[in-house]
């Protein structure tokens, strides 16, 4: 099947029920997207599909033919994504960093749909787990991005 990932077409030889996560990590070598639980619990595997955040560990690849997939590797070629990354660095969000690809993807999806999200909207969208406990830094970073937009 043909998948469009980061604006490029890839021929992928995978069973229909293979999770997108393992196609992008093992077949395409894009390891920025992380495996955390395989059960849609943690969000470390978040990617964008047609601009919406999706947990790639529970997304069978067959359904994605003809759709536009964006992984963390291409996040900076997105204007919003680029701002998110810059703010993530500015706010020194990451600790171990393992969940942060997913957090950045979730923030980018939120801000693409809702450029100036409210506190409640941030809380509803930023639900990925972080074992290092960077939640306050994440919230501060998204809040700053929301205010940039509002200003």
């Amino acid at each position: 099947m043909e998948l469009r990932i980061n604006q490029k077409a890839y021929q992928v030889d995978a069973d229909a029920d293979t999770p997108l996560l393992w196609v992008i990590r093992d077949d395409l070598g894009l390891t920025g997207t992380k495996y955390g639980c395989g059960l849609a619990q943690c969000g470390a595997c978040s990617v964008l599909v047609d601009g919406n955040v999706v947990r790639s560990c529970v997304t069978p690849v067959a359904a994605l033919v003809g759709r536009e997939i964006t992984t963390i590797e291409a996040i900076e070629s997105d204007e919003v994504g680029k701002r998110v990354v810059a703010t993530w660095v500015e706010h020194q969000v990451a600790q171990c960093g393992y969940c942060q690809s997913g957090q950045v993807m979730a923030a980018t999806a939120l801000l693409k749909h809702t450029p100036a999200p409210s506190k409640a909207q941030i809380e509803a969208a930023m639900i990925n787990l972080c074992r290092c406990g960077t939640y306050n830094a994440i919230h501060a970073a998204v809040d700053a991005l929301a205010k940039q937009e509002g200003a």
Binding site: D17, P19, L39, A40, Q41, R55, V58
Partner: protein, 447 residues
């Protein structure tokens, strides 16, 4: 799932209190007639017959109760909790001491088709002999051949039931049998074709689908045992799961399913409408996937012939799109906990993650299945020896009773679903007497 036959056994256990004792003593200890009276014990059977018997055992899902994971096949042991105490499935290996090694074919027949053990002792109807009675003589003989020759004897004493005297007396069951248990094998309907008849035979007989899917009466009898009764396979609540209608109800039954979709469901555990879960996972893992294609086609043909009941089922479901942002209680939980797999639009990712829009569990009045799967997650569906790629997580440690009630109310009232609200108390009740599903595949072996 220790208590999964609890409901089945509960009603008639009360009977000892209701029935006048002794009057019909001869009746309650008599041994039913069997065509195999003359057969000698210890006969040798052809391998083909043994293997035919193995297939009948698959159709009949004997392992579901008589085997435990990791233990000797058919050595018994599954505990079934009842309000009066626990009973345990027995050892049906050919062990002469603890199993059924001394059974003649006639003994075997009386036990399987009539619920009567040697000596006239009545089996608890947790053993679905009211269905197995429909098994053909040939199938009974084949089944006997399999149990005598196809499996290894296992010396494992049966566990006595916890039920105290006098409630543990078995003879009143004979009276129950007299009222509720049919005595005739399946007779083909001449006005139906062979495929339909084969389907009817499997569904009513070995498949004992009604054990879960047919509602029960006051004495816990199945209200109908074949298509002549409207309640047959009309959906029933059992052990914390709602086994939905298998009739042509478009909402709560199979009305929207095609015959190939039914076949696919029973063969692979999944189709565009649903994935097996709850007790059906066990039926699929151990039984339906092993059925031959023509038998599955026969089942589908038969089930498609059972009319629905528009009065019970209501107006046929139609998908209704919803605005992206929902304020309803439960909407937020749905978006954060459920939507990754089942989609914000409720359409799921068939055939791996089932749609919730139009799902039986979201349209049926009974909410038990929806609550149970949310609390406890799904057991692994093992198709053709391979465990599923995706499973439902358990939310009991993450969501309160009220949160689960809210999210299920949302699911059951969105996208055209009209199953209705879910009560937090119902969640709490089910939480109390269920356990989370294992994330490890559970395989019950027949050999």
């Amino acid at each position: 799932m220790n208590n999964r036959r609890f409901a089945r056994t509960a009603g008639w256990l009360a009977l000892p209190c209701l029935v006048a004792a002794g009057l019909l003593a001869w009746y309650v200890t008599r041994e039913p007639a069997t065509p195999f009276e003359q057969e000698q014990a210890g006969a040798r059977f052809e391998p083909a017959l043994v293997s035919r018997g193995e297939y009948v055992a698959r159709l009949s899902d004997c392992v579901a109760c008589h085997s435990l994971a990791g233990k000797a096949p058919f050595a018994g042991g599954l505990e079934m909790a009842t309000p009066l105490g626990a009973i345990h499935a027995t050892n049906i290996t050919p062990d002469k001491q603890t199993g059924i090694g001394t059974y003649s074919l006639a003994d075997f027949d009386r036990a399987v088709r009539h619920g009567v053990a040697p000596g006239g002792r009545r089996l608890y109807p947790a053993m679905p002999y009211p269905s197995y009675v429909k098994l053909s003589d040939d199938d009974i003989k084949a089944l006997y051949a399999f149990f005598m020759q196809g499996i290894k004897p296992a010396n494992q004493p049966n566990i006595p039931s916890d039920i105290p005297w006098p409630l543990n007396m078995r003879w009143p069951i004979a009276l129950w049998n007299g009222v509720f248990a049919p005595t005739a094998t399946y007779a083909a309907k001449p006005n139906q074709d062979a495929l339909w008849n084969r389907g009817a035979y499997i569904v009513q007989g070995p498949g004992h689908c009604g054990s879960c899917h047919t509602p029960r009466g006051l004495a816990f009898n199945e209200k109908a045992l074949d298509e002549s009764g409207a309640p047959f396979l009309a959906g029933a609540l059992l052990d914390g799961w709602y086994a939905p209608s298998l009739r042509q109800d478009p909402n709560t039954g199979l009305g929207r399913w095609t015959e190939p979709q039914i076949v696919q469901f029973l063969k692979t555990g999944r189709n565009a409408h649903a994935v097996v879960y709850g007790s059906m996972t066990e039926a699929f893992n151990n039984s339906t996937q092993f059925m031959q294609d023509e038998d599955l086609a026969a089942i589908a043909r038969y089930l498609k012939s059972l009319p629905g009941d528009p009065q019970r089922d209501g107006a046929p479901w139609q998908y209704q799109a919803v605005a992206a942002v929902q304020d309803a209680p439960g909407a937020h939980t749905y978006a954060t906990r459920c939507a990754s797999c089942h989609g914000l639009d409720g359409k799921g990712q068939p055939e791996w993650m089932p749609p919730l829009a139009g799902a039986t569990s979201a349209l049926a009045k009974e909410s038990a299945s929806a609550i149970n799967i949310t609390l406890n997650g799904s057991q692994r569906v093992v198709a053709a020896g391979v465990p599923d790629a995706y499973r439902m997580p358990a939310f009991r440690e993450q969501l309160s009773d009220a949160e689960i009630a809210d999210v299920l109310t949302y699911v059951r009232s969105t996208w055209g679903n009209n199953g209705g609200t879910v009560d937090a108390n119902a969640v709490g009740k089910l939480r109390g007497h269920t356990d989370p599903a294992s994330s490890s595949p559970i395989i019950l072996h027949m050999r």
